[in-house]
């Protein structure tokens, strides 16, 4: 725990001690090594990590300590000893004994170290190299033979272990156990043969394994995808934000010659601390995928897409959007600035409120909830740290927002935070959280939620985007929050959804939480935008927009980064009827049916802001600024100019400034509760439930084979009684089908609700929406 954290959590006693002759006061409980840091005195260390429990494994941090006039007989490890009043500490800077002790430890550490820096990925940024120079002997006295191990072994498809280089600091094993809750690696054997190993039965399939690579102080753990790719001096590092989920991790992107080679977790104590998940760390090759769109494309008379110039493509797009009644589908990956661009474009250039950022299963209830209870509110990680009870509704923390999971796990570990999940079964992540399960079938969440009563003002209710799939459930959660005073937070899966909500990329909301239905809010925005009127009629949701396209009432669609298959298998065919302008980074299902395709920048190529679930702005600069691609908002601005109704957002920063100057409106839409009805499943059928796994067939993970190697295998989870009646056991293939199609998967027996069957929503061999056409509801399950 950092000194700051200790200081703020409790009003603490300060303790004064002397280090190298300087007095310093630190909160009680601070470790000597941290107190020295406060004075700017750097004690060499390997095993010490501010976020992990102290172990004193490496002994590199030895210092001389004197308490109450009595000196410890030998130098002590400063990373394990808390400060005491009147302590006198002498580090290597003032004590020859401490200096000699540190040099001795370094010498011992190097005895079995291969010193193969030239072939080591850590070379150039290695704490062992650096501290051997600063705190070691100049010359080696070692003449023996070094212990050798077979070089490198895969502890997972993406993490390699070189046991010769390991200095047994136990950072990796402590991280896995204390932070991620995946103790799949451990220290085996003793003495010179001690080594990091994997448990034989369970592979190291942690979603957080990349962090062990980042915190390993030597090159013992390296990432397979960065192996031998670069040296630190080749890389240009840019602070960035993660585009993969709404947790909002701070990141660092390292680029060599315009190509992203690695991403590391940034250091933000309020959000991701120093961690991130493997998807954020290792899924970035999509930017350089073969199907990247690089020039504007237009569909010619023969129905083929052909390359076109920007003026030609923009003119055609403008014509199509002007001549038809048009609507906008944004998708959840846009930055705040881009979403604001779409929002303003819809209102001014298209004069419509038919805009929706939710490219997934949605409901009117959800839209109403977002506009009344989510937009403009703030609940944050600190609230989770302080909560007495956290309720997870339609939300699988580890799969859908991994950093939220790490926060919860930290509190569960520290103080047994009570967690309750409303779900059909206890998932792996929820088992780690020791969550209590309120077993529920998909679709019946409302009645389960309304029975919960043990929440207090300090409780937090976390609502996942999937709760919208169950009618009445959100209303029940809102009622629960109102009655108990608990905090209510909505955690979407995608990084851009919250920003799009704030930017008003929704049919009932204008930017800055202004309800479309509030005429004062509209007038306020008219003044800010300098227009004489804004559309006042309530707009359509994505489902309604598609229906109107089918009926022929909407003739053109502006689509930004939406995969119709995320919503329904039928939508692509229906959308084909409309004139489609697609803003995309890569070829997609929409490209196949688009009339004009305009290439846009990927996250590393542009600057922007993501708003994470807490409503915290995560601003980032372009990591590859030399890229010629442009952010969506610039293209929308050009398109609006071409249409003769300017939105005047020529740059990302102008969009950001304009959005910030709008402020947040004070009034919210009122919430109209919806009553839930329980799902009825015909006899002999099963109730399907599903969610997306963190590592799955998502398009941003394309081409990351090492990463995919640690994805959880696709299995269908069924109850014991269903397995018995089907006559199957663990691992047998079962077939789940609807009239539309089927999925065949190996089954896994778990204590899931009797009537339910669970499958991953978008994994290999398990594309639920595409194959079954539904996300939940009645399916038949048979032995395959």
């Amino acid at each position: 725990m950092s000194t700051q954290e200790i200081a703020t959590e409790t009003a603490v006693e300060m303790i004064t001690l002397t280090i190298d002759g300087f007095e310093v006061s630190v909160p009680k409980g601070t470790l000597v090594i941290r107190a020295a840091e406060k004075l700017g005195i750097q004690i060499p260390r390997f095993c010490d990590h501010p976020l992990l429990d102290p172990v004193g494994a490496c002994r590199q941090c030895l210092v001389e300590i004197e308490v109450n006039g009595r000196k410890f007989p030998k130098p002590q490890a400063s990373c394990t000893i808390p400060v005491e009043p009147g302590m006198i500490v002498n580090t290597q800077l003032t004590s020859a004994v401490a200096d000699k002790a540190q040099q001795g430890v370094m010498e011992l550490l190097l005895i079995n170290h291969p010193l193969d820096c030239p072939v080591c990925d850590k070379g150039g940024e290695c704490p062992l190299q650096n501290q051997a120079m600063s705190n070691g002997r100049e010359e080696s006295r070692f003449e023996g033979t070094k212990r050798t191990f077979e070089k490198p072994i895969n502890i997972s498809s993406q993490v390699l272990l070189d046991r010769e280089r390991c200095i047994l600091c136990a950072r990796c094993t402590r991280f896995s156990e204390q932070i991620a809750g995946d103790p799949f690696i451990t220290l085996n054997e003793r003495g010179a043969l001690q080594q990091v190993g994997i448990y034989e039965k369970e592979p190291f399939e942690s979603y957080f394994s990349g962090n062990t690579v980042q915190i390993c102080p030597v090159g013992a753990l390296t990432g397979a995808s960065y192996r031998f790719r670069a040296r630190p001096f080749d890389l240009i590092s840019t602070p960035s934000a993660c585009e993969h989920c709404a947790s909002g991790c701070d990141m660092r992107t390292d680029v060599r010659r315009g190509k992203t080679l690695r991403r590391l977790a940034g250091d933000d104590a309020a959000v991701n601390e120093e961690w991130n998940c493997d998807k954020g760390r290792w899924a970035f090759k999509y930017v350089n995928a073969k199907d990247r769109i690089t020039t504007p494309l237009i569909r010619d008379e023969s129905g083929q897409l052909r390359e076109a110039s920007w003026p030609e493509a923009l003119a055609l797009a403008a014509k199509g959007l002007k001549e038809n009644r048009s609507a906008v589908l944004v998708g959840g990956r846009a930055t705040l600035e881009d979403a604001y661009g779409y929002s303003k474009f819809a209102r001014i250039a298209l004069n419509t409120n038919d805009i929706d950022f939710r490219s997934r299963a949605t409901s009117k209830e959800e839209k109403n909830f977002l506009a009344s209870h989510v937009v403009g509110t703030q609940v944050n990680y600190k609230d989770l740290d302080r909560a007495d009870h956290v309720l997870l509704l339609g939300f699988e923390a580890e799969e859908e927002s991994p950093i939220v999971f790490l926060r919860l796990y930290k509190q569960v570990k520290k103080r047994e935070l009570k967690i309750t999940a409303v779900a059909p079964f206890t998932s792996r992540g929820n088992k780690k959280l020791k969550a209590e399960l309120i077993s529920t079938q998909a679709g019946s969440e409302a009645s389960a939620i309304s029975k919960i009563s043990n929440l207090s003002k300090k409780s937090v209710i976390l609502i996942g985007e999937r709760l919208s799939e169950s009618s009445g459930a959100i209303s029940a959660a809102v009622a629960l929050a109102t009655n108990s005073g608990a905090k209510l937070a909505w955690i979407p899966r995608r990084a851009g959804e919250r920003g799009a909500l704030e930017a008003g990329a929704l049919s009932n909301l204008l930017p800055g939480a202004r309800p479309v239905s509030d005429s004062a809010a509209r007038v306020d925005l008219q003044a800010a935008w300098g227009v004489s009127s804004l559309p006042s009629n309530p707009g359509l949701d994505s489902d309604e927009i598609i229906k109107e396209v089918e009926k022929g009432n909407i003739g053109a669609l502006l689509v930004g980064g939406v995969d119709p298959l995320d919503i329904s298998p039928d939508y692509q065919a229906i959308m084909e009827k409309a004139f489609i302008v697609s803003l995309e980074i890569r070829q997609s299902a929409v490209t196949q049916i688009a009339d004009v395709v305009l290439p846009v920048a990927a996250v590393v190529e542009k600057s922007g802001t993501f708003i994470n679930w807490e409503s915290r702005a995560r601003f980032f600069e372009a990591a590859v600024p030399e890229s010629l691609t442009r952010s969506d908002v610039r293209i929308l601005s050009m398109l609006a100019d071409e249409m003769g109704s300017s939105i005047n957002l020529p740059t990302v920063s102008s969009a950001r400034d304009e959005f910030n100057s709008l402020g947040t409106w004070h009034n919210r839409e009122s919430f109209t509760p919806v009553s839930g009805e329980s799902t009825k499943i015909a006899n002999g059928k099963a109730n399907l439930c599903s969610w997306r796994l963190l590592l799955d067939a998502g398009s941003l993970q394309d081409g990351e084979n090492n990463l995919a190697g640690t994805a959880h295998p696709s299995v269908a989870i069924i109850s014991k009684s269903r397995a018995d009646s089907l006559g199957v056991t663990n691992g047998d293939q079962i077939k789940i089908s609807t009239p539309r199609g089927e999925i065949t998967l190996a089954c896994q027996i778990d204590s899931i609700d009797e009537e339910s069957v669970w499958v991953p929503r978008n994994s290999i061999n398990s594309k639920v929406i595409e194959s079954l056409g539904i996300t939940s509801g009645e399916v038949s399950v048979v032995r395959a």
Binding site: C117, P118, V119, G123, G124, K151, P152, R227, F228, R229, A230, R231, F233, D234
Partner: protein
């Protein structure tokens, strides 16, 4: 050192001009003997052996340690010594070297051990022939030859690729990729204990044995 002092001693007039901070115009009268000395140098040179070499017809012998273009060496069995570590690139004050490392895999063993250079380029428009890269190389992969005829007519041609820099295969060497010598590891190679290529390999493919 006086024999290398090429400037004539300033005459009195120039010195005076300098003292009075008056610009020197070159028209100041100089002493008769000073002029004679200049003519004498010209005259005596006519009887000396000329220093000029008729390059390129005649090619001069350079000193054995002359810093010529680089070479990437091989072990006796043909495997490349370069491990793609980039230390040469790091040492280079002119940023002339570009290296990208890659994994040695079964079936694609380019150098002994785990790592080889996938891309290796030296930009001779930048190189100042200081030799710091040679000193940095941990495997003696990179050395300099005495060859100095590098000039070319385009920028592209002056970026030398790995193929251009690699030492030719000598007799007994075999073109990588091929496996390391049986029962050996990179240490054996480093200590120069490997004297021939893998017995399973047909050395005729490379040089003659």
């Amino acid at each position: 050192m006086s024999e290398f002092h090429l400037e004539p001693k300033p005459s009195g007039a120039i010195q005076r001009a300098a003292e009075q901070s008056v610009p020197v115009t070159g028209t100041e009268p100089s002493g008769f003997f000073t002029q004679l000395k200049g003519f004498w140098v010209t005259f005596s040179t006519m009887f000396k052996k000329p220093n000029t070499i008729e390059y390129p017809e005649v090619k001069p012998e350079v000193a054995p340690r002359f810093h010529g273009r680089h070479q990437l060496n091989r072990y006796e069995d043909g495997l490349e010594k370069c491990i793609g570590c980039e230390l040469c690139a790091w040492a280079c004050p002119a940023d002339a070297i570009y290296v990208e490392g890659e994994n040695n895999t079964e079936g694609n063993q380019i150098s002994p051990g785990e790592r080889h250079a996938k891309v290796y380029q030296i930009n001779y428009l930048r190189c100042i022939f200081c030799g710091l890269c040679i000193e940095a190389c941990p495997t003696r992969a990179l050395t300099m030859t005495n060859e100095y005829e590098i000039a070319d007519d385009s920028r592209e041609k002056l970026i030398w690729e790995k193929e251009d820099l690699l030492a030719p295969l000598r007799a007994g060497m075999l073109m990588p990729p091929h496996p390391m010598y049986p029962e050996s590891d990179h240490h054996n190679y480093y200590r120069n204990e490997i004297k021939e290529s893998h017995p399973s390999q047909d050395t005729k493919a490379g040089g003659e044995k």
